[in-house]
């Protein structure tokens, strides 16, 4: 592929993660499943970039991580949206909507 898929994915992945975590605190595996289910397999996401994005968001202060006990009583790393993360989500969502609308306006046949 001519273009690097990572580059392409990065911003998208971030906003998807933030959106997912907006529903509630979850560990990485749950985030991964949630996104896969919501996209219905349309977008094929690897888990590696997902974790990278999660830790990057943690470094940026958008999410914070904490160890907790999972459904099956195992130690898992839980991620939670911070107030900064919530603000970032609102911001990115708006940007995405504008972007998508613009693209649709071009793609829709002129009436």
């Amino acid at each position: 592929m001519a273009r690097d898929p990572m580059e392409l994915m990065q911003g998208t992945l971030d906003v998807l993660i933030l959106r997912t975590l907006a529903w509630g605190t979850m560990h990485g595996y749950a985030v991964s499943r949630w996104i896969r289910e919501r996209t219905g397999g349309t977008i094929d996401i690897e888990d590696a970039p997902l974790y990278k994005a999660l830790h990057r968001l943690e470094g940026g202060g958008y999410v914070e991580a904490e160890w907790g006990l999972s459904e099956n009583n195992r130690r898992a790393r839980y991620y939670r949206l911070t107030p900064a993360g919530r603000r970032q989500l609102t911001h990115e969502e708006a940007a995405w909507r504008r972007y998508a609308e613009a693209v649709f306006r071009v793609l829709e046949p002129a009436t």
Partner: protein, 883 residues
């Protein structure tokens, strides 16, 4: 979902472990989910990994990323904590303004005093001298152990030999300067002026390495007899004052005395060497033998020497000693002068103030220590009261180390505030010290708060904060949670806490005691000095300094008597007479003499005494008692037989147990002179130094042209100045008049340095005592507060109120007693240091020590009294109901 406690910072091992665990969890969870769809465990695992992507690369990436995040957060948290701590500290301090104000003022006084004194020390003792490579400069004296003259001047003749034979010395040169004594008249530019002059020999400029501001310094051939030596260097200040800083003056000619001198250049600005008030530097070669004879026994020069690179003081001393020893073998008049004394130039300049300054620096250090102890004890008291707050914070999960940091931040904020206020105090203090003491400390006029001083202030502030903060902080963080929570807000004094506080009080009293002894000893020394009878009456007397011109008058005696007659005729003048050196301003000349029948072994020097040339009526004018015989009369003329008046010191030294009156002295080798009078001793050098054996000679019989005309007036002496000036000018229009001062001024100046030292030491003593008393009061008041309940119980059980009073006061005085004992020991040690700056006082004077000890105990008693009264007035019913 349960939570584990999360820690803000993680080690790299922990990061690696957690990354592994997180990824393992993911893969396992996915594999388990796939198992449920019917895959084999192996296939499920493979599938999970495939969906994941590159596990190893991701693991590395996450490790790196987390470590970076961790470091950033660490730094941010630290700064955030600091900011939070500082904000918290300010908030706490604002909440207890009384405490904060007391602490800051205490610290400001301590730090301010230190910074102010250090500013002076920095200017006088630490800043480099204004010469290149100042560490290779030395001052040199001739040394005569036999006659008790360890640091005499160097004779110009000897100096030539020193210069000719030098090897490890790069250069050495001499100068003759006497404040108010060495001068030259500037004429032909309006009113004649008496300039303050330094007379320099060859080698002087070379040794010091002076770079002129304008023009050039004299060459070797311009500083010796027979050379082109009618040249003059101007000091910067004089150049500005007289010539407005005009560079064109270089190369021009000015008239000094009666001869033209070429202005060669201007010395650099701020070169206050050898004194600040010098106007011109003139070659020593221009002084005729008639004024200062070129004899080996005329040792009048100050000598500065510069060592070659890599040559130490020991080698310099060895070389000069060797030359002096050779000269002493060669010349009989040098027989007892076979050695020299050498000191680094800075030490020579600041030598006699060094001890005083170091004592002051020690005193302010003590003041600061007391301030530290005070604030530490305040903090301890607060820590106990805040015990509950701290216990709550600890129980809520505050980490001990974090708490120490927070308490230390509070201390450093306090210290910082104190330091800032202290520097402001120091600015004012330095200004006052400069006004009071610029003349008293060489180089002291340059004292200013510079980078070095600010660095010192900063260091002292931080050290202070750490010093008074660390112990309370450590104690608090280790406080017993349960006990403090149970005790409610009142706080508890554990035995150890109390012991610590008691030792602080003891230390404080001991330090304050040493300071007060220092101040007391200094004050007594100063009073002793004031009580000294200088041998003359200083009131209603004004002195005019001038030198008669031998160029304008072939016979100066008529001018000399003319001035005396005119001045004496002024209404309001009670008496007038002249003396070569005014009292407290110099001892005249040193000359050899012999008594009849005294044989001086060949190659040895005979006895010497000071010679002072005076006019008739001088002793009556000075108010000096005539013990026997008479003073000089106008009839003791040049053509009459030579007669002498001597002082009592001379009589005691050379005619022990006998009367000097009527005895004969052989002066100048063969002239016999009869002693016609014995007068009281006049302190000529300083108030602290006893009169030296002195012979007085009548000016018309042995001419000298330098005069200090003492005028005794009926009214205000300075009011007579214009009339006297006019009388002098009416005899010689061109006569320049040097300094004019009253004898009261001379006396005042003579004790200015001891006065300054006394004022400062006494001030620091009072400051130390007040801070100490405050500290003692604080601790006892706090103690009473803590024991209120116990006291209430005692009173309820029928204890006598007086006993309670006694108990509290007793405790205070007991603590002070231990402090006083320690203070006594310290004072004795201090006494040895002080000995060098004291006059007529034993620093270990038992009466003084006892007085100070009593004062300390009395202050301790007073400090304990108020808290004790409060304790005794406790209402048992109220205290007992409190819980």
């Amino acid at each position: 979902m349960k939570r584990f406690i999360s820690f803000p910072w993680r080690s790299s091992e922990r990061i690696a472990r957690e990354v592994d665990e997180e990824l393992a969890y993911h893969l396992e969870a996915r594999a388990n989910a796939l198992l449920a769809t019917g895959l084999s465990s192996h296939e499920a695992r493979r599938q999970a990994e495939r969906e994941f992507g590159d596990v190893a690369a991701t693991r590395d990436y996450l490790n790196r990323l987390d470590r970076k995040t961790n470091a950033t957060r660490h730094r941010r948290d630290y700064l955030g904590d600091l900011r939070q701590d500082v904000r918290y500290a300010f908030r706490t301090l604002r909440r207890s303004p009384g405490f904060a104000l007391t602490a800051v003022v205490t610290l400001a006084l301590g730090i301010g005093a230190n910074v102010a004194i250090f500013t002076i020390v920095n200017a006088v003792l630490l800043r480099p001298l204004p010469f290149p490579r100042p560490e290779t400069l030395y001052k040199v004296w001739s040394h005569n152990a036999k006659d008790g003259m360890p640091q005499a001047g160097v004779s110009a003749v000897d100096l030539d030999d020193f210069r000719a034979q030098r090897r490890v010395l790069e250069e050495l040169g001499g100068f003759w300067y006497a404040s108010g004594g060495s001068g030259i008249d500037l004429v032909g530019r309006g009113e004649p002026q008496r300039l303050s002059a330094v007379f320099t020999t060859a080698g002087f400029y070379g040794a010091l390495g002076v770079r002129p501001e304008v023009g050039r310094v004299p060459r070797e051939d311009e500083l010796v007899r027979g050379g082109r030596d009618r040249v003059v260097m101007l000091t910067y200040d004089f150049w500005m004052r007289e010539f407005g800083g005009d560079r064109r003056i270089v190369g021009q000619s000015v008239t000094l005395g009666a001869e033209p001198y070429e202005v060669l250049g201007v010395l650099p600005r701020g070169l206050a060497f050898p004194a600040r008030d010098v106007d011109v530097f003139v070659p020593y070669s221009t002084i005729p033998d008639g004024s200062i004879p070129r004899l080996r026994m005329v040792r009048n020069l100050d000598v500065v020497a510069r060592a070659r690179p890599g040559v130490g003081m020991r080698q310099v001393q060895a070389e000069l000693n060797a030359i002096a020893a050779r000269l002493s073998r060669e010349y009989p008049e040098n027989a007892a002068w076979g050695a020299t004394r050498v000191k680094p130039l800075r030490e020579a300049i600041t030598g006699d103030v060094r001890t005083g300054l170091l004592v002051l620096l020690g005193a302010v250090a003590f003041v600061l220590l007391i301030a530290c102890v005070n604030v530490a004890s305040l903090l301890l008291a607060r820590a106990s009261v805040r015990g509950r707050e701290i216990a709550v914070r600890l129980s809520l999960g505050a980490v001990g180390g974090r708490l120490v940091r927070q308490l230390m931040t509070e201390s450093l904020v306090l210290a910082g505030l104190g330091g800032a206020a202290g520097v402001l105090l120091a600015v004012a203090g330095v200004r006052a010290l400069r006004t009071l003491g610029a003349q008293q400390w060489p180089l002291g006029a340059d004292a200013s708060i510079d980078g070095a001083v600010l660095a010192f202030a900063f260091g002292v502030t931080i050290a202070t904060g750490l010093l008074f903060g660390i112990v309370p902080a450590l104690r608090s963080s280790r406080s017993d949670l349960q006990r403090d929570l149970r005790a409610g807000g009142r706080g508890v004094a554990g035995d150890r806490a109390m012991g610590l506080r008691n030792s602080l009080v003891v230390a404080e009293v001991a330090l304050a005691m040493i300071l007060v002894v220092g101040g007391g000893v200094m004050t007594r020394s100063f009073l002793e000095l004031l009580a000294v009878d200088p041998g003359f009456r200083s009131d209603h007397a004004v002195v005019f300094n001038y030198t008669l011109s031998t160029e304008r008058h072939s016979d100066y005696v008529p001018v000399y008597t003319g001035i005396l007659d005119r001045v004496r005729a002024i209404p309001g003048v009670e008496a007038a007479a002249s003396i070569k050196d005014a009292p407290l301003r110099g001892v005249g000349e040193i000359a050899g003499f012999r008594l009849p029948g005294m044989t001086i072994p060949a190659g040895q020097e005979g006895p010497t005494a000071a010679i002072l040339h005076v006019s008739d009526g001088i002793f009556r004018t000075l108010g000096t008692p005539i013990k026997a015989g008479r003073e000089f009369l106008p009839t003791d003329r040049g053509d009459a037989p030579l007669v002498l008046v001597v002082n009592e010191a001379f009589e005691r030294r050379w005619f022990p147990g006998e009367r000097a009156l009527g005895k004969t002295v052989i002066a100048g080798g063969r002239v016999r002179a009869e002693i016609v009078g014995v007068v009281g001793d006049i302190r000529q050098r300083s108030m602290a130094e006893e009169a030296v054996p002195t012979m007085y000679i009548h000016v018309p019989q042995n001419g000298r042209v330098r005069m200090n005309l003492v005028v005794r007036t009926r009214g205000e002496p300075l009011a007579m100045v214009p009339l006297v000036r006019e009388a002098i000018r009416s005899v010689d229009r061109q006569q320049a008049i040097g300094s004019v001062f009253t004898l009261d001024d001379a006396r005042h100046d003579a004790v200015a340095r001891p006065r300054l030292l006394m004022v400062l030491m006494a001030g620091f003593g009072v400051l130390g005592l007040s801070l100490g008393a405050l500290g003692l009061y604080g601790v006892l008041a706090y103690l009473v507060n803590l024991r209120q309940r116990e006291i209430g119980v005692r009173l309820a059980l029928g204890a006598d109120r007086r006993r309670v009073l006694r108990m509290v006061v007793g405790q205070g005085v007991q603590l002070a007693g231990v402090g006083v004992v320690l203070g006594l020991a310290g004072s004795l040690a201090l006494g040895r240091l002080l000995a060098g700056v004291l006059y007529g006082v034993d620093p270990a004077d038992p009466i003084l020590l006892a007085l100070v000890a009593l004062t300390m105990l009395a202050v301790a008693f007073a400090s304990s009294w108020f808290p004790a009264r409060r304790a005794a007035s406790v209402d048992p019913a109220v205290t007992l109901r409190e819980d």
